[in-house]
């Protein structure tokens, strides 16, 4: 019995202590990790989409509250004019879970500048080509924001990656989400973007 209690006490104390320690370290490093993820996961995608910008979209970002969620918008300054935003959305229904997509939108003409996959766990060589093969995401370039984006199988215009229809659908969903979000929040976005005029 005594041994039993000792085992319980030791394990409980140990687990509690390590839990507390980890929570503390997690709190301390949270912000830093957020910045790192912005820089190394979202940064490359944003910079590819906004080719030829003159600012740092990671530094020039703002947030808008949409219902309960805080959304980050990354501003692209072209020729001194803040004329584009990038939003990250997540498309449900990928083969290995949600597919994160960075969507660049031209605010003046309401059309897509480009999209880029940020996070995914799709099959290498199949769905993962959504990230590595630029010809798939290039199809989104210049599309106007009117209808939801769909793959050809669903009556849309986007050619799915062969063998990875699910992934392609998830990307389309994410792009459509970004479109919806943008159209809904447009007045606020335009207002906020004025601050980045240089």
């Amino acid at each position: 019995m005594r041994e039993m209690i000792k085992m319980l006490v030791v394990l409980t104390v140990l687990s509690t202590f390590s839990g507390g320690l980890l929570a503390a370290i997690n709190n301390k490093t949270k912000e830093k990790i957020q910045i790192q993820i912005l820089e190394f996961v979202k940064g490359p995608a944003i910079r590819t989409i906004f080719e030829g910008i003159t600012n740092d979209p990671i530094a020039d970002r703002f947030e808008i509250k949409d219902n309960e969620t805080q959304r980050s918008f990354f501003v692209g300054v072209f020729d001194g004019e803040p004329s584009a935003v990038a939003i990250e959305t997540f498309g449900k229904g990928g083969y290995g879970g949600d597919v994160g997509l960075m969507v660049g939108i031209d605010v003046k003409e309401d059309k897509l500048i480009g999209v880029g996959v940020t996070t995914h766990s799709e099959t290498p060589g199949m769905g993962a080509r959504a990230e590595s093969d630029p010809s798939f995401v290039a199809q989104f370039k210049g599309l106007s924001l009117k209808d939801p984006f769909k793959v050809t199988q669903d009556g849309g215009t986007i050619n799915a990656i062969s063998g990875a229809t699910l992934t392609s659908r998830a990307v389309c969903l994410a792009a459509s989400d970004a479109e919806k979000l943008y159209l809904q929040l447009k007045p606020q976005i335009v207002e906020k973007m004025k601050e980045f005029k240089k």
């Binding site: 030791v10 394990l11 390590s18 980890l22 370290i25 990790i33 820089e39 190394f40």
Partner: protein, 201 residues
């Protein structure tokens, strides 16, 4: 037979160097040694966890009941691995991405649990610290050595801090098989063979 403190430290560098002599911790050894940089990162992370868990386990060895010792060791090791993971995410993100799943997998690395069970649970704090440090450095050096051989033959470069340094001349034909997964086994086997030849008395 009691060893001197120096012996406790030095044994990890040659006589008991983990991947080659104890033949433990092979999973990360084979998987991450595609570039020298990955080898260093993995080695340092493992050494950090090993030293910290050895110290803590050694200092708690009289408190932990023997029936739940493995569970306690795993809690301790997992805590330090998570700390290492968070720190790497915060400060060396590209390296963290490259090592990926192998960082959390340090928890189940035989070297760490093996040292806890075979050494730290029976020896004093300072000895356990030296043991952990020696084995950790030995592991790091082994990873670096294996990675250097593979990268040099497979790509003709040595990668340090994100920058590949071209070592071989332009006429060098990369033997890319050796950086692929099967090449890891081949390189490891050859290194084991060399180590045994050199160490043979």
């Amino acid at each position: 037979m009691a060893k001197s403190l120096t012996q406790e430290f030095v044994k990890g560098l040659w006589n008991e160097v983990p991947p080659f002599r104890l033949v433990l911790g092979l999973c990360p050894t084979l998987a991450v040694t595609k570039a020298v940089e990955n080898g260093i990162g993995m080695g340092v992370a493992t050494a950090f966890v090993l030293v910290c868990s050895n110290i803590l386990i050694s200092s708690m060895r009289k408190v932990i009941p023997s029936k739940v010792r493995i569970a306690s060791y795993i809690v301790i090791v997992a805590t330090f691995v998570t700390i290492a993971e968070l720190l790497m995410q915060a400060y060396t993100y590209p390296l963290f991405k490259k090592l990926g799943i192998f960082i959390p997998l340090i928890v189940v690395n035989c070297i760490i649990l093996g040292r806890a069970e075979a050494f730290a649970s029976k020896n004093g704090i300072f000895r356990s610290f030296l043991d952990g440090l020696g084995i950790g450095i030995g592991f790091t050096l082994s990873l670096v050595a294996l990675a250097a051989v593979r990268e040099l033959l497979g790509r003709g470069t040595l990668t340090l801090w994100e920058k590949p340094i071209q070592v071989m001349g332009p006429a060098f034909q990369p033997f890319s098989f050796i950086v692929e997964a099967p090449g890891a086994f081949l390189a490891l086997g050859l290194m084991l063979c060399i180590m045994n030849l050199v160490g043979k008395k």
